[in-house]
Protein backbone atom coordinates (compact mmCIF):
# COMPACT_ATOMS: atom_id res chain seq x y z
CA UNK A 1 0.00 0.00 0.00
CA UNK A 2 1.28 3.42 -0.92
CA UNK A 3 0.77 6.97 0.26
CA UNK A 4 0.32 10.15 -1.76
CA UNK A 5 2.51 13.08 -0.85
CA UNK A 6 2.44 16.33 -2.82
CA UNK A 7 1.38 14.47 -5.93
CA UNK A 8 4.03 11.78 -5.47
CA UNK A 9 3.27 8.16 -4.82
CA UNK A 10 5.48 6.77 -2.06
CA UNK A 11 5.93 3.03 -1.54
CA UNK A 12 5.38 3.59 2.18
CA UNK A 13 5.19 6.58 4.51
CA UNK A 14 8.81 6.43 5.69
CA UNK A 15 11.42 8.90 4.48
CA UNK A 16 15.01 9.21 5.65
CA UNK A 17 15.50 12.72 7.03
CA UNK A 18 18.02 15.13 5.60
CA UNK A 19 21.55 14.79 6.96
CA UNK A 20 21.03 11.37 8.49
CA UNK A 21 21.54 9.09 5.50
CA UNK A 22 25.01 10.13 4.31
CA UNK A 23 25.06 10.12 0.52
CA UNK A 24 22.62 7.21 0.50
CA UNK A 25 25.31 4.66 -0.34
CA UNK A 26 26.31 4.25 3.30
CA UNK A 27 22.73 3.34 4.16
CA UNK A 28 22.36 0.61 1.55
CA UNK A 29 24.00 -2.22 3.56
CA UNK A 30 21.60 -1.43 6.41
CA UNK A 31 18.42 -1.68 4.34
CA UNK A 32 18.44 -5.33 3.33
CA UNK A 33 18.02 -6.69 -0.17
CA UNK A 34 15.82 -3.87 -1.40
CA UNK A 35 18.33 -1.14 -0.66
CA UNK A 36 16.89 2.36 -0.84
CA UNK A 37 13.79 0.96 -2.55
CA UNK A 38 12.73 -0.19 0.91
CA UNK A 39 12.07 3.47 1.74
CA UNK A 40 9.15 5.68 0.88
CA UNK A 41 11.76 8.29 0.05
CA UNK A 42 15.30 9.48 0.67
CA UNK A 43 16.01 13.10 1.54
CA UNK A 44 19.60 14.11 0.80
CA UNK A 45 21.76 16.10 3.19
CA UNK A 46 21.34 19.80 2.43
CA UNK A 47 23.07 20.79 -0.79
CA UNK A 48 24.45 24.31 -1.21
CA UNK A 49 25.64 26.19 -4.29
CA UNK A 50 29.32 25.97 -3.34
CA UNK A 51 31.07 23.03 -1.76
CA UNK A 52 31.22 23.23 2.02
CA UNK A 53 33.85 21.46 4.08
CA UNK A 54 31.74 21.65 7.23
CA UNK A 55 32.50 23.02 10.66
CA UNK A 56 35.14 22.13 13.23
CA UNK A 57 34.98 19.18 15.60
CA UNK A 58 33.09 18.35 17.68
CA UNK A 59 30.20 18.39 15.25
CA UNK A 60 27.91 15.90 16.92
CA UNK A 61 27.67 15.66 20.69
CA UNK A 62 25.63 13.31 22.82
CA UNK A 63 23.13 14.74 25.28
CA UNK A 64 20.58 12.71 27.26
CA UNK A 65 18.14 11.19 24.75
CA UNK A 66 19.42 13.43 22.04
CA UNK A 67 22.21 14.43 19.71
CA UNK A 68 23.42 17.99 19.31
CA UNK A 69 24.71 18.67 15.85
CA UNK A 70 26.53 21.54 14.18
CA UNK A 71 27.98 20.02 11.06
CA UNK A 72 28.20 23.18 8.98
CA UNK A 73 26.33 21.37 6.17
CA UNK A 74 29.29 19.54 4.59
CA UNK A 75 28.43 18.77 0.98
CA UNK A 76 30.17 18.78 -2.40
CA UNK A 77 28.17 21.71 -3.78
CA UNK A 78 25.42 21.49 -6.39
CA UNK A 79 27.69 20.85 -9.40
CA UNK A 80 29.49 17.85 -7.96
CA UNK A 81 26.25 16.61 -6.38
CA UNK A 82 24.51 16.63 -9.75
CA UNK A 83 27.48 14.96 -11.40
CA UNK A 84 28.33 12.29 -8.86
CA UNK A 85 25.56 11.70 -6.33
CA UNK A 86 22.19 12.35 -7.95
CA UNK A 87 22.70 9.97 -10.92
CA UNK A 88 23.36 7.13 -8.50
CA UNK A 89 20.42 8.06 -6.28
CA UNK A 90 18.16 8.27 -9.31
CA UNK A 91 18.87 4.62 -10.11
CA UNK A 92 17.86 3.40 -6.65
CA UNK A 93 14.14 3.00 -7.25
CA UNK A 94 13.11 5.31 -4.46
CA UNK A 95 11.76 8.85 -4.30
CA UNK A 96 14.76 11.15 -4.11
CA UNK A 97 14.10 14.45 -2.37
CA UNK A 98 16.96 16.94 -2.59
CA UNK A 99 17.32 19.20 0.40
CA UNK A 100 18.62 22.67 -0.49
CA UNK A 101 20.17 25.33 1.72
CA UNK A 102 21.29 28.84 0.86
CA UNK A 103 22.64 31.89 2.59
CA UNK A 104 20.33 34.17 0.64
CA UNK A 105 17.02 33.92 -1.18
CA UNK A 106 18.95 34.28 -4.42
CA UNK A 107 20.97 31.16 -3.65
CA UNK A 108 17.80 29.13 -3.07
CA UNK A 109 16.42 30.35 -6.38
CA UNK A 110 19.63 29.37 -8.19
CA UNK A 111 19.58 25.93 -6.58
CA UNK A 112 15.97 25.50 -7.70
CA UNK A 113 16.87 26.45 -11.28
CA UNK A 114 19.74 23.94 -11.35
CA UNK A 115 17.73 21.12 -9.83
CA UNK A 116 14.74 21.82 -12.03
CA UNK A 117 16.86 21.02 -15.06
CA UNK A 118 18.11 17.74 -13.60
CA UNK A 119 16.41 14.40 -14.07
CA UNK A 120 16.12 11.93 -11.25
CA UNK A 121 14.72 13.87 -8.35
CA UNK A 122 11.14 13.62 -7.14
CA UNK A 123 10.95 16.77 -5.05
CA UNK A 124 12.87 19.55 -3.37
CA UNK A 125 12.96 20.03 0.38
CA UNK A 126 13.75 23.58 1.37
CA UNK A 127 15.89 23.90 4.49
CA UNK A 128 14.97 27.47 5.42
CA UNK A 129 17.04 27.35 8.60
CA UNK A 130 20.24 27.95 6.65
CA UNK A 131 19.39 31.56 5.78
CA UNK A 132 22.06 33.95 6.94
CA UNK A 133 19.56 36.54 8.15
CA UNK A 134 16.02 36.10 9.36
CA UNK A 135 16.21 32.35 9.75
CA UNK A 136 13.15 31.30 11.73
CA UNK A 137 11.12 34.31 10.58
CA UNK A 138 7.90 33.16 8.88
CA UNK A 139 7.99 35.88 6.20
CA UNK A 140 11.56 34.94 5.25
CA UNK A 141 10.57 31.31 4.90
CA UNK A 142 7.69 32.36 2.68
CA UNK A 143 10.01 34.51 0.54
CA UNK A 144 12.34 31.56 0.03
CA UNK A 145 9.46 29.29 -0.97
CA UNK A 146 8.07 31.86 -3.39
CA UNK A 147 11.50 32.28 -4.99
CA UNK A 148 12.03 28.53 -5.29
CA UNK A 149 8.56 27.98 -6.78
CA UNK A 150 9.04 30.82 -9.25
CA UNK A 151 12.34 29.45 -10.51
CA UNK A 152 11.41 25.82 -10.79
CA UNK A 153 11.04 25.22 -14.52
CA UNK A 154 8.76 22.26 -14.14
CA UNK A 155 6.21 21.05 -11.64
CA UNK A 156 8.55 19.59 -9.07
CA UNK A 157 6.86 19.48 -5.68
CA UNK A 158 8.38 21.72 -3.03
CA UNK A 159 8.50 20.50 0.56
CA UNK A 160 9.39 23.03 3.21
CA UNK A 161 11.05 21.93 6.40
CA UNK A 162 9.83 23.92 9.35
CA UNK A 163 11.13 24.25 12.86
CA UNK A 164 8.82 22.70 15.44
CA UNK A 165 8.60 25.93 17.41
CA UNK A 166 5.11 25.88 18.89
CA UNK A 167 4.81 29.66 19.08
CA UNK A 168 5.38 30.20 15.34
CA UNK A 169 4.84 26.90 13.60
CA UNK A 170 1.20 27.45 12.64
CA UNK A 171 1.89 30.93 11.30
CA UNK A 172 4.94 29.71 9.40
CA UNK A 173 3.00 26.86 7.83
CA UNK A 174 0.23 29.27 6.81
CA UNK A 175 2.58 31.65 5.01
CA UNK A 176 4.64 28.97 3.28
CA UNK A 177 1.48 27.26 2.05
CA UNK A 178 0.29 30.62 0.73
CA UNK A 179 3.67 31.01 -0.95
CA UNK A 180 3.09 27.79 -2.83
CA UNK A 181 4.62 24.98 -0.73
CA UNK A 182 3.21 21.62 -1.80
CA UNK A 183 3.85 20.05 1.59
CA UNK A 184 5.43 20.97 4.89
CA UNK A 185 7.86 18.91 6.92
CA UNK A 186 7.44 19.71 10.59
CA UNK A 187 10.48 18.40 12.37
CA UNK A 188 13.69 20.34 11.91
CA UNK A 189 16.07 20.11 14.85
CA UNK A 190 15.33 22.29 17.86
CA UNK A 191 17.64 25.30 18.17
CA UNK A 192 20.18 24.50 20.87
CA UNK A 193 23.83 25.02 21.72
CA UNK A 194 26.87 22.78 22.00
CA UNK A 195 28.62 22.79 25.39
CA UNK A 196 31.15 25.27 23.92
CA UNK A 197 28.32 27.66 23.07
CA UNK A 198 28.24 27.20 19.31
CA UNK A 199 24.72 27.14 17.84
CA UNK A 200 23.53 23.61 17.16
CA UNK A 201 20.42 21.60 16.49
CA UNK A 202 18.98 19.12 18.94
CA UNK A 203 17.51 15.93 17.53
CA UNK A 204 16.50 12.56 18.88
CA UNK A 205 13.88 11.21 21.26
CA UNK A 206 14.28 14.28 23.50
CA UNK A 207 12.45 16.43 20.93
CA UNK A 208 9.79 13.91 19.92
CA UNK A 209 6.96 15.12 22.18
CA UNK A 210 7.62 18.72 21.14
CA UNK A 211 7.55 17.85 17.46
CA UNK A 212 4.42 15.73 17.89
CA UNK A 213 2.65 18.68 19.54
CA UNK A 214 3.61 20.92 16.63
CA UNK A 215 2.47 18.37 14.04
CA UNK A 216 -0.83 18.00 15.90
CA UNK A 217 -1.42 21.77 15.93
CA UNK A 218 -0.50 22.17 12.26
CA UNK A 219 -2.73 19.32 11.13
CA UNK A 220 -5.61 20.72 13.16
CA UNK A 221 -5.14 24.22 11.75
CA UNK A 222 -4.74 23.06 8.13
CA UNK A 223 -6.71 19.86 7.64
CA UNK A 224 -6.18 19.94 3.89
CA UNK A 225 -2.40 20.48 4.10
CA UNK A 226 0.09 17.75 3.36
CA UNK A 227 2.21 17.38 6.48
CA UNK A 228 5.27 15.21 6.98
CA UNK A 229 6.11 14.69 10.64
CA UNK A 230 9.46 14.05 12.21
CA UNK A 231 11.50 14.47 15.34
CA UNK A 232 12.97 11.69 17.41
CA UNK A 233 11.09 8.86 15.74
CA UNK A 234 12.81 5.59 16.67
CA UNK A 235 10.06 2.96 16.68
CA UNK A 236 7.04 2.10 14.56
CA UNK A 237 4.85 3.19 17.48
CA UNK A 238 6.51 6.62 17.39
CA UNK A 239 5.85 6.85 13.66
CA UNK A 240 2.23 5.84 14.12
CA UNK A 241 1.66 8.59 16.67
CA UNK A 242 2.72 11.17 14.06
CA UNK A 243 0.51 9.54 11.42
CA UNK A 244 -2.38 9.46 13.89
CA UNK A 245 -1.88 13.19 14.49
CA UNK A 246 -2.55 13.73 10.79
CA UNK A 247 0.85 13.44 9.11
CA UNK A 248 0.81 11.85 5.66
CA UNK A 249 4.33 10.53 6.04
CA UNK A 250 7.15 10.57 8.57
CA UNK A 251 10.90 11.15 8.53
CA UNK A 252 13.39 9.17 10.57
CA UNK A 253 16.74 10.76 11.25
CA UNK A 254 18.79 10.64 14.43
CA UNK A 255 17.65 7.08 15.18
CA UNK A 256 19.68 5.94 12.16
CA UNK A 257 22.85 7.21 13.75
CA UNK A 258 22.22 5.00 16.77
CA UNK A 259 21.02 2.02 14.74
CA UNK A 260 21.26 2.29 10.95
CA UNK A 261 18.86 -0.63 10.49
CA UNK A 262 15.99 1.40 11.98
CA UNK A 263 14.77 2.66 8.61
CA UNK A 264 14.33 -0.81 7.15
CA UNK A 265 12.53 -2.02 10.25
CA UNK A 266 10.15 0.94 10.37
CA UNK A 267 9.46 0.83 6.64
CA UNK A 268 8.59 -2.86 6.82
CA UNK A 269 6.41 -2.35 9.86
CA UNK A 270 4.56 0.63 8.42
CA UNK A 271 4.06 -1.09 5.07
CA UNK A 272 2.47 -4.02 6.84
CA UNK A 273 0.23 -1.68 8.77
CA UNK A 274 -1.14 -0.16 5.61
CA UNK A 275 -1.83 -3.35 3.69
Amino acid sequence: MTVELAGLTLANPLLVASGCGGTGRELVPCLGEQGLAALGGFVTRSITLDARAGGPAPRVVETPSGLLHATGLPNPGIDLFLATELPWLARQDTRVVVSVAGRTIGEYAELARRLGRSPGLAAIEVNVDALETGSGEPFQAASVVAAVKRDLPRGLPVLVKIRPDLVRVVETVRVVLEAGADAVVVGTAQPAALPDGRPAGLSGPAVRPLALRCVTEVCAAFPAAQVVGGGGIATAADARSFLAAGAVAVQVGAALLHDPTTAARLAADLTQELV
Binding site: E26, P56, V60, H258
Partner: protein
Protein backbone atom coordinates in the same frame (compact mmCIF):
# COMPACT_ATOMS: atom_id res chain seq x y z
CA UNK B 1 56.99 -0.51 -4.04
CA UNK B 2 53.25 -0.02 -4.04
CA UNK B 3 50.77 -0.04 -1.23
CA UNK B 4 47.44 -1.65 -2.01
CA UNK B 5 44.52 0.64 -1.33
CA UNK B 6 42.14 -0.39 1.39
CA UNK B 7 38.92 -2.03 0.36
CA UNK B 8 35.60 -1.56 1.99
CA UNK B 9 34.17 -4.72 3.44
CA UNK B 10 30.46 -4.98 4.03
CA UNK B 11 29.37 -4.60 7.61
CA UNK B 12 26.76 -6.61 9.46
CA UNK B 13 24.50 -5.52 12.29
CA UNK B 14 24.13 -8.21 14.89
CA UNK B 15 23.19 -8.81 18.45
CA UNK B 16 26.46 -10.15 19.80
CA UNK B 17 27.12 -12.15 22.91
CA UNK B 18 29.80 -11.16 25.38
CA UNK B 19 31.53 -14.48 25.84
CA UNK B 20 34.31 -13.45 28.14
CA UNK B 21 35.53 -10.32 29.87
CA UNK B 22 38.80 -10.03 31.72
CA UNK B 23 40.91 -7.25 33.14
CA UNK B 24 44.45 -7.02 31.86
CA UNK B 25 46.34 -4.10 33.40
CA UNK B 26 44.28 -0.94 33.13
CA UNK B 27 42.12 -2.26 30.29
CA UNK B 28 39.40 -4.81 29.91
CA UNK B 29 39.58 -7.38 27.13
CA UNK B 30 36.20 -8.43 25.78
CA UNK B 31 35.56 -11.50 23.66
CA UNK B 32 32.38 -11.03 21.65
CA UNK B 33 30.60 -13.54 19.44
CA UNK B 34 29.32 -11.40 16.58
CA UNK B 35 28.38 -13.67 13.65
CA UNK B 36 29.56 -12.33 10.32
CA UNK B 37 32.12 -9.91 11.72
CA UNK B 38 35.19 -12.19 12.02
CA UNK B 39 34.80 -13.47 8.44
CA UNK B 40 34.81 -9.95 7.04
CA UNK B 41 37.47 -8.52 9.32
CA UNK B 42 40.73 -7.00 8.11
CA UNK B 43 43.32 -5.43 10.41
CA UNK B 44 42.43 -1.79 11.00
CA UNK B 45 38.69 -2.41 10.95
CA UNK B 46 36.63 -1.45 13.96
CA UNK B 47 33.18 -2.24 15.33
CA UNK B 48 30.52 0.19 16.55
CA UNK B 49 28.61 -0.64 19.68
CA UNK B 50 25.31 0.80 20.88
CA UNK B 51 25.03 1.42 24.59
CA UNK B 52 22.40 -0.59 26.43
CA UNK B 53 20.84 2.61 27.79
CA UNK B 54 19.15 4.00 24.70
CA UNK B 55 19.23 7.55 26.07
CA UNK B 56 22.88 7.52 24.96
CA UNK B 57 22.56 7.75 21.22
CA UNK B 58 26.12 8.10 19.97
CA UNK B 59 27.87 4.87 19.14
CA UNK B 60 31.19 3.76 20.57
CA UNK B 61 33.90 2.48 18.27
CA UNK B 62 36.46 -0.17 19.19
CA UNK B 63 39.35 -1.57 17.20
CA UNK B 64 39.16 -5.27 16.60
CA UNK B 65 42.17 -6.54 18.51
CA UNK B 66 42.01 -10.13 17.47
CA UNK B 67 39.85 -12.70 15.79
CA UNK B 68 40.08 -16.06 17.39
CA UNK B 69 38.29 -19.37 17.06
CA UNK B 70 35.96 -20.21 19.91
CA UNK B 71 34.73 -23.74 20.48
CA UNK B 72 31.20 -24.16 19.20
CA UNK B 73 30.89 -20.51 18.12
CA UNK B 74 33.07 -20.36 15.02
CA UNK B 75 35.11 -17.23 15.62
CA UNK B 76 34.86 -14.33 18.01
CA UNK B 77 36.33 -10.84 18.08
CA UNK B 78 38.36 -9.37 20.88
CA UNK B 79 38.17 -5.72 21.86
CA UNK B 80 40.29 -3.70 24.25
CA UNK B 81 38.19 -1.33 26.36
CA UNK B 82 39.52 1.60 28.37
CA UNK B 83 37.00 1.64 31.24
CA UNK B 84 36.76 5.44 31.28
CA UNK B 85 33.86 7.51 30.08
CA UNK B 86 30.21 6.52 29.90
CA UNK B 87 30.57 3.97 27.11
CA UNK B 88 33.82 2.40 28.30
CA UNK B 89 32.61 2.06 31.88
CA UNK B 90 29.35 0.46 30.73
CA UNK B 91 31.07 -2.04 28.44
CA UNK B 92 33.76 -2.85 30.98
CA UNK B 93 31.12 -3.51 33.62
CA UNK B 94 29.05 -5.94 31.56
CA UNK B 95 29.03 -9.53 32.80
CA UNK B 96 29.77 -12.43 30.46
CA UNK B 97 26.62 -13.56 28.70
CA UNK B 98 25.36 -10.01 28.05
CA UNK B 99 23.98 -9.14 24.64
CA UNK B 100 25.60 -6.23 22.79
CA UNK B 101 24.46 -4.57 19.56
CA UNK B 102 27.45 -4.65 17.24
CA UNK B 103 27.94 -3.20 13.75
CA UNK B 104 31.03 -4.19 11.86
CA UNK B 105 33.57 -4.59 10.57
CA UNK B 106 33.66 -0.90 9.69
CA UNK B 107 36.15 1.50 8.17
CA UNK B 108 39.02 1.31 5.75
CA UNK B 109 41.60 -1.19 6.99
CA UNK B 110 45.39 -0.92 6.84
CA UNK B 111 46.69 -1.16 3.30
CA UNK B 112 49.19 -3.99 2.93
CA UNK B 113 52.39 -3.83 0.90
CA UNK B 114 52.35 -5.99 -2.20
CA UNK B 115 55.96 -7.02 -1.67
CA UNK B 116 57.60 -8.49 1.45
CA UNK B 117 59.17 -5.27 2.70
CA UNK B 118 60.32 -4.28 6.15
CA UNK B 119 57.49 -2.82 8.24
CA UNK B 120 57.52 -0.90 11.50
CA UNK B 121 54.41 -0.96 13.70
CA UNK B 122 54.04 1.71 16.38
CA UNK B 123 51.22 1.54 18.90
CA UNK B 124 50.38 3.37 22.09
CA UNK B 125 48.00 2.38 24.89
CA UNK B 126 44.79 0.52 24.03
CA UNK B 127 44.99 2.06 20.56
CA UNK B 128 47.76 -0.38 19.67
CA UNK B 129 45.06 -3.08 19.47
CA UNK B 130 44.70 -3.24 15.65
CA UNK B 131 48.46 -3.63 15.13
CA UNK B 132 48.55 -7.17 16.53
CA UNK B 133 46.40 -8.81 13.85
CA UNK B 134 48.22 -6.59 11.33
CA UNK B 135 51.58 -7.99 12.46
CA UNK B 136 50.33 -11.52 11.83
CA UNK B 137 49.02 -10.61 8.40
CA UNK B 138 52.30 -8.93 7.45
CA UNK B 139 54.32 -11.86 8.69
CA UNK B 140 52.21 -14.20 6.56
CA UNK B 141 53.21 -12.07 3.59
CA UNK B 142 56.87 -12.47 4.43
CA UNK B 143 57.38 -8.93 5.72
CA UNK B 144 59.99 -8.31 8.38
CA UNK B 145 57.97 -6.79 11.21
CA UNK B 146 59.40 -4.59 13.95
CA UNK B 147 57.21 -3.16 16.66
CA UNK B 148 57.22 -0.27 19.12
CA UNK B 149 54.69 -0.71 21.92
CA UNK B 150 54.18 2.31 24.16
CA UNK B 151 52.05 3.33 27.09
CA UNK B 152 51.87 5.61 30.10
CA UNK B 153 52.99 2.74 32.33
CA UNK B 154 53.04 -1.04 32.38
CA UNK B 155 49.30 -1.22 33.08
CA UNK B 156 48.54 0.82 29.96
CA UNK B 157 50.64 -1.33 27.66
CA UNK B 158 49.19 -4.01 25.42
CA UNK B 159 50.70 -7.47 25.68
CA UNK B 160 54.28 -6.99 24.56
CA UNK B 161 54.99 -10.61 25.45
CA UNK B 162 52.70 -11.75 22.72
CA UNK B 163 54.14 -9.22 20.32
CA UNK B 164 57.58 -10.67 20.97
CA UNK B 165 56.38 -14.00 19.66
CA UNK B 166 55.05 -12.72 16.38
CA UNK B 167 57.54 -10.10 15.27
CA UNK B 168 61.26 -9.75 14.74
CA UNK B 169 61.94 -7.13 17.41
CA UNK B 170 59.88 -5.21 19.93
CA UNK B 171 60.77 -1.96 21.63
CA UNK B 172 58.78 -1.23 24.76
CA UNK B 173 58.44 2.39 25.88
CA UNK B 174 56.66 3.71 28.96
CA UNK B 175 56.32 7.32 30.04
CA UNK B 176 57.20 6.43 33.64
CA UNK B 177 59.87 3.87 32.81
CA UNK B 178 58.02 1.11 34.70
CA UNK B 179 58.93 -1.29 31.92
CA UNK B 180 61.17 -0.97 28.87
CA UNK B 181 62.69 2.35 27.90
CA UNK B 182 61.51 5.48 29.66
CA UNK B 183 60.06 8.03 27.27
CA UNK B 184 57.57 8.63 24.52
CA UNK B 185 57.17 7.32 20.99
CA UNK B 186 58.46 10.58 19.54
CA UNK B 187 61.77 9.98 21.33
CA UNK B 188 62.40 6.52 19.91
CA UNK B 189 60.83 6.63 16.48
CA UNK B 190 63.92 7.93 14.67
CA UNK B 191 66.09 5.14 15.98
CA UNK B 192 63.43 2.50 15.34
CA UNK B 193 63.10 3.65 11.74
CA UNK B 194 66.84 3.71 11.19
CA UNK B 195 67.32 0.26 12.70
CA UNK B 196 64.41 -1.45 10.98
CA UNK B 197 65.01 0.19 7.58
CA UNK B 198 61.22 0.07 7.31
CA UNK B 199 59.59 0.99 4.04
CA UNK B 200 56.12 1.10 5.57
CA UNK B 201 55.23 2.40 9.02
CA UNK B 202 51.90 1.62 10.64
CA UNK B 203 50.83 3.65 13.66
CA UNK B 204 47.93 3.62 16.09
CA UNK B 205 47.69 5.91 19.10
CA UNK B 206 46.96 9.46 20.19
CA UNK B 207 47.16 12.20 17.58
CA UNK B 208 50.50 13.62 18.73
CA UNK B 209 52.05 10.17 18.49
CA UNK B 210 50.61 9.61 15.02
CA UNK B 211 51.86 13.02 13.94
CA UNK B 212 55.38 12.30 15.19
CA UNK B 213 55.42 8.92 13.46
CA UNK B 214 54.07 10.29 10.19
CA UNK B 215 56.64 13.10 10.18
CA UNK B 216 59.52 10.74 10.95
CA UNK B 217 58.36 8.28 8.29
CA UNK B 218 58.22 11.03 5.69
CA UNK B 219 61.71 12.19 6.65
CA UNK B 220 62.96 8.62 6.09
CA UNK B 221 61.13 8.26 2.80
CA UNK B 222 58.80 5.60 4.21
CA UNK B 223 55.06 5.27 3.65
CA UNK B 224 52.98 5.71 6.76
CA UNK B 225 49.51 4.43 7.56
CA UNK B 226 47.93 5.99 10.63
CA UNK B 227 44.85 4.73 12.44
CA UNK B 228 43.17 7.98 13.43
CA UNK B 229 40.94 7.95 16.49
CA UNK B 230 38.25 10.61 16.79
CA UNK B 231 34.77 10.24 18.29
CA UNK B 232 32.52 8.69 15.63
CA UNK B 233 28.91 9.49 16.55
CA UNK B 234 27.31 7.10 14.05
CA UNK B 235 30.44 5.25 12.85
CA UNK B 236 28.71 4.32 9.60
CA UNK B 237 29.29 7.39 7.41
CA UNK B 238 25.82 8.87 7.86
CA UNK B 239 26.27 11.87 10.13
CA UNK B 240 29.49 13.65 9.04
CA UNK B 241 30.30 13.98 12.73
CA UNK B 242 33.89 12.65 12.67
CA UNK B 243 35.81 15.18 10.56
CA UNK B 244 39.51 14.63 9.88
CA UNK B 245 41.31 17.42 7.98
CA UNK B 246 43.26 15.92 5.09
CA UNK B 247 45.00 16.89 1.87
CA UNK B 248 43.74 15.16 -1.26
CA UNK B 249 45.87 13.55 -3.96
CA UNK B 250 45.43 16.81 -5.86
CA UNK B 251 46.89 18.86 -3.01
CA UNK B 252 43.52 20.38 -2.13
CA UNK B 253 42.61 20.60 1.57
CA UNK B 254 39.55 18.53 2.36
CA UNK B 255 37.73 17.08 5.33
CA UNK B 256 37.42 13.30 5.47
CA UNK B 257 35.09 11.23 7.59
CA UNK B 258 37.16 9.13 9.98
CA UNK B 259 34.62 6.31 10.06
CA UNK B 260 34.20 5.74 6.36
CA UNK B 261 37.07 7.47 4.53
CA UNK B 262 39.36 6.27 7.35
CA UNK B 263 40.03 5.53 10.10
CA UNK B 264 43.30 4.38 8.55
CA UNK B 265 44.68 7.25 6.51
CA UNK B 266 48.05 7.93 4.94
CA UNK B 267 50.07 9.84 7.49
CA UNK B 268 51.27 12.36 4.91
CA UNK B 269 47.66 13.15 3.96
CA UNK B 270 46.40 14.14 7.40
CA UNK B 271 46.63 17.82 8.35
CA UNK B 272 47.75 17.04 11.88
CA UNK B 273 47.98 20.66 12.95
CA UNK B 274 44.29 21.16 12.16
CA UNK B 275 43.18 17.97 13.89
CA UNK B 276 41.90 19.01 17.31
Amino acid sequence: MTVATGERAGAVHVSGELLDTKRIGAFRHLTVVAPGVPERFRPGNFVAISLGDSSFLARRSYWVHRVRPVGGYGAAIQLVVDPNGVGGAWLAGLPAGSRIKVTGPLGRPFALPKEPVSCLLVGEGYSAAPLFPLAERLRERGCAVTMVVAGADEAHLLSSLEARRSVRAVTVVTADGSVGQKGRVAGVIEEALARSQAEVVYAAGPHDTLHAVAAAAEAHGAWSQTAVEVPQPCATGLCHGCPVPVVGEDGVARVARACSDGPVLRGDRVRWGDLG
